[in-house]
Amino acid sequence: MKNSFSLKAGVLSLTAFGVILLSGNAGGLAFAADSLPAGFKAGALAPEPSADMIEAGKRVYFTKCVWCHGVDGAGDGPGADRLWPRPRNFNQGTFKIRHTASGELPLFDAKKPVEGQNDLFATVTHGLPGSAMPPWEGILTEEQRLQVLSFVTTQLVKDRKFTDTKSESQTVLQLAELAPIAASEESLKKGAELIVEKKCIECHGVEGRGDGNAFNLKDDWGFSIQPANWHKCWNFRGSRQDPYNVKNIFRTFSTGVNGTPMPSFADNTTVEERWHIANFVNSLCERDGEGKPLPIDPQADKPKINFVVPSGKVEGEISADPENELWTKRARRYIAMGGQITHKPRNFVNRIDDLWVKSLYNETHVVFMFQWDDRTKSVAEGKLPWAPTSVNVEVKEQDPKTGEEGSIAAHQNNYTVYNDAVAMETAIKWKELPAPIKPRYLFGSNEQFPMDIVKWEADGSLRAFKGTGWDKDFEQRFDYEENIKLLFSEWKNGRWTVIIQRPLGDKKEQDYDSDTFFEMGQYIPTVFFAWDGHNGDAGRKMAVSAFYYTFLEPPTPQEAYIYPVAIAAGVVLLEGWILTRRSNKRKAKALSR
């Protein structure tokens, strides 16, 4: 098994080498040591780490790393089979995030923990966002991080040798010396043209949501791999906990990502062109209404969360067009989504990790716009083998230990395709619940604390259910479905936009026992669910949010204009009183003297 793998890797790197040679010839360039790609300089291999470092590193490895990366560093530890991307197999010496030219080993020097000059050290320090590799800074000391890397690079990288001058070379991107070009409109325009010219969009998609070639890409080990979604820079593996820094994009674009279909563009772009592309890609990353980077939570390396989803008051009809000014001007909320990992079938790999929600309301209805990135539009072929109300559907969860062939990474893109879907769940009779109590986030607690669920599926259906527990089948609410309406749904360039309108409800007319009453100025417990059909998501295999609060913003009351003025007048009076009192006192003093 191992042999065939290294053989495969060998063949691959040979073909890669051939391609480089060919392209070099085709371009009329001599492939010689003195014609390095622009922005690169030849570097020297680092000396071998000391035996003490390696021995100490073994102890770190077998405490912290072995659980995912495995005893032999083959990326097959106990945790590996339920992860996608799989943990790195160190044996071939293939590392993604580097400053070195395509195919070369990354920078590592056990004596030089310097940012920008030690790729592996930076990877361990900052982790690889979007994968299970956490940042180890603050957990392991700098010394311990260098030790464990000494062990990994000398003992677990088996097919290559970091110190072998005959077979290895280091051609280093001089990132510190290359001054970035300002992200002017002109630069962004050039970048937008270049990503078409350089064929970036063939994989990354027309709008860069990673939807261009989401199915056929494989890494060196034969596992499915997806092109990065440029709109979620905090999930870039090479973001180094600094996601909006354009230098990270420039580096990845210059060096390529070893072991993946992402090539290095160092040979066929100038440094200037690379900055334009990096600027453009960086400009696509999600930003707030004013165009500023989203605040990132340093503890999670994801955008900061606000658990209130405000809904804005509108007079009259609410537009069904997402491009309508009402919607484009409306602020959106980031809803973080995790895998449903409480009850079987658990969803260890959730491909939807966030939703964007906007909401508006008028006298009679409240409308929610959901937008989320999904590389594939998924609609189940034929009739689903279960009723829409079924909760306990036959979807198998990933076994804990299967070996590479049966692992979750090997299953990617081989799932039976179900419907993409989104649902919102709100508490029924939330106002009557005793203080901290809410129904359980997963489809309610029981008959006493049920949930109102509205679910849209990519086959065009919009249904309303009542949930009374995580394992209880839904009750469909046909009487309510007459009143809800799908205003808009579209999948375009890797993004779903769905607009759902539902009645505000009230105590008198609505069926108060099964419909949520959206009362103005109140915090209404709300949960969001999302399903990615190509991930085999159905039933409880889905992405879930925590409890959020829908909040219908009340119009400013008249008192807010009256009282402050009265208070200000009061302050003026008070000031006058203090001043007269003081001057009287002084006069009295002066008199008594």
Binding site: R59, V60, T63, K64, W67, C68, G77, P78, G79, D81, R82, A132, P134, W136, G138, I139, T141, Q144, P298, Q299, A300, I305, F307, V308, M337, G338, G339, I341, T342, H343, K344, F348, N350, K401, P436, I437, K438, P439, R440, Y441, S445, F449, W470, V544, S545, A546, F547, Y549, P555, P557, A560, P564, I567, A568, A569, V571, V572, E575, I578, R582
Partner: protein
């Protein structure tokens, strides 16, 4: 005296520069990081350092003939505390709590400036000067206050009355009282008397001393003891079961509780409350092994009401794991964090 004071001043200036640099972003904001679990002590220590620093600075300044008026000392001291609470402490504390701390520190500042008659006079002198408005500058200031104060207060009250949405604060009991016994997979376990059947020495006897001697070391990194590698092929008893527990942990639990058991797993960012951090001395280190066994088996759904069962995504692990697997994974958590389980006596 002077040497001590200049040292204090040095600390104060360096600390202020570092703090403002970290807030503004000139130096990385994690140059001096707040370590989880030690955060309260750290914050108090830092504040004490700053007080020492301020004492030093004010001493040095008056020694150099640039006496800083007591009035401004009081004001800036209070302002510093407010800013420190707002920008330094992470995760951020809600405004209502900060307002409470702010009031307490305001009272403290008042007590300090009114400690004796002379100080109090010095403190209120500037206020009186403005009220009396004997100089042109003071008169100007008086008119300015006359206009600005009503506008400010009116503005604040408008701000307070405009409808806003703030996350409702929900306080939850982290360690609710456990039941006397719990029934898992058909068998009843009395929490006070049950023992982890895998906490055994190589001979197979229950041996807490042996297992405690083989957990990872406290201190940075929390590494295993050099001669206690659970991945050793010959590992028997406790260490062998730790490895088996670890395998279960990394197949099931790390998604939320994290590769380093610090509650920073892959899915953790999406959930609220965030998953428990076992490396924090306030979690498993405070609890008995059977308490953890109960929590793991029953999960969020099995919490009593004060623990907010509705918000927790903690699975009732009896749905996914056998009793043996639960015991092993609990033991692994103690091994990996280097904590001893609390005993009932």
């Amino acid at each position: 005296m002077k040497a001590i004071m200049s040292l204090g001043a040095l600390i104060g200036v360096a600390g202020l520069l570092l703090l403002s640099g970290m807030i503004v972003g000139i130096v990385p904001s994690d140059t001096v990081r707040l370590i989880e679990g030690y955060m309260p002590v750290q914050v108090i220590a830092e504040l004490i350092l700053f007080v020492a620093g301020f004492t030093g600075i004010s001493y040095m300044m008056s020694a150099m003939g640039m006496t800083f008026p007591r009035f401004w000392q009081g004001i800036s001291c209070w302002a510093f505390v407010l800013l420190y609470l707002k920008f330094r402490v992470y995760p951020p504390i809600p405004f209502s709590v900060r307002a409470m701390y702010g009031t307490v520190s305001l009272v403290a500042v008042f007590m300090w400036v009114s400690a004796n008659e002379e100080d109090w006079q010095k403190f209120k002198q500037p206020i009186m000067n403005v009220l009396d408005a004997k100089t042109g500058g003071n008169r100007l200031l008086r008119y300015a206050y006359l206009i600005i104060l009503p506008i400010l207060i009116g503005g604040f009250s408008y701000n307070a009355m405009v409808p806003k949405s703030e996350e409702p604060i929900e306080l939850r009991t982290v360690h609710p009282a456990p039941p006397a016994s719990t029934k898992v997979h058909g068998k009843t376990y009395t929490l006070q008397t049950s023992q982890n059947p895998y906490r055994v020495n190589p001979e197979g006897k229950y041996d807490q001393e042996y297992s405690n001697a083989n957990i990872v070391e406290q201190g940075m990194g929390r590494l295993m003891k050099p001669n206690a590698n659970p991945w050793d092929k010959d590992a028997q008893g406790y260490l062998k079961y730790v490895r088996e527990g670890g395998e279960i942990f990394y197949q099931n639990c790390h998604f939320c509780h994290g590769d380093n058991l610090n509650g920073r797993g892959l899915h953790a960012f999406a959930f609220n409350p965030i998953p428990a951090n076992f490396t924090d001395p306030g979690t498993i280190a405070q609890l008995q092994e059977t308490f953890i066994f109960w929590r793991v088996s029953k999960g969020g759904i099995g919490l009593p009401n004060e623990g907010f069962p509705w918000a927790s995504v903690m699975p009732p692990w009896e749905q996914h794991l056998t009793v043996d697997e639960i015991w092993k994974v609990v033991m692994f958590e103690y091994w990996h964090t280097g904590y001893y389980p609390r005993t009932w006596d």
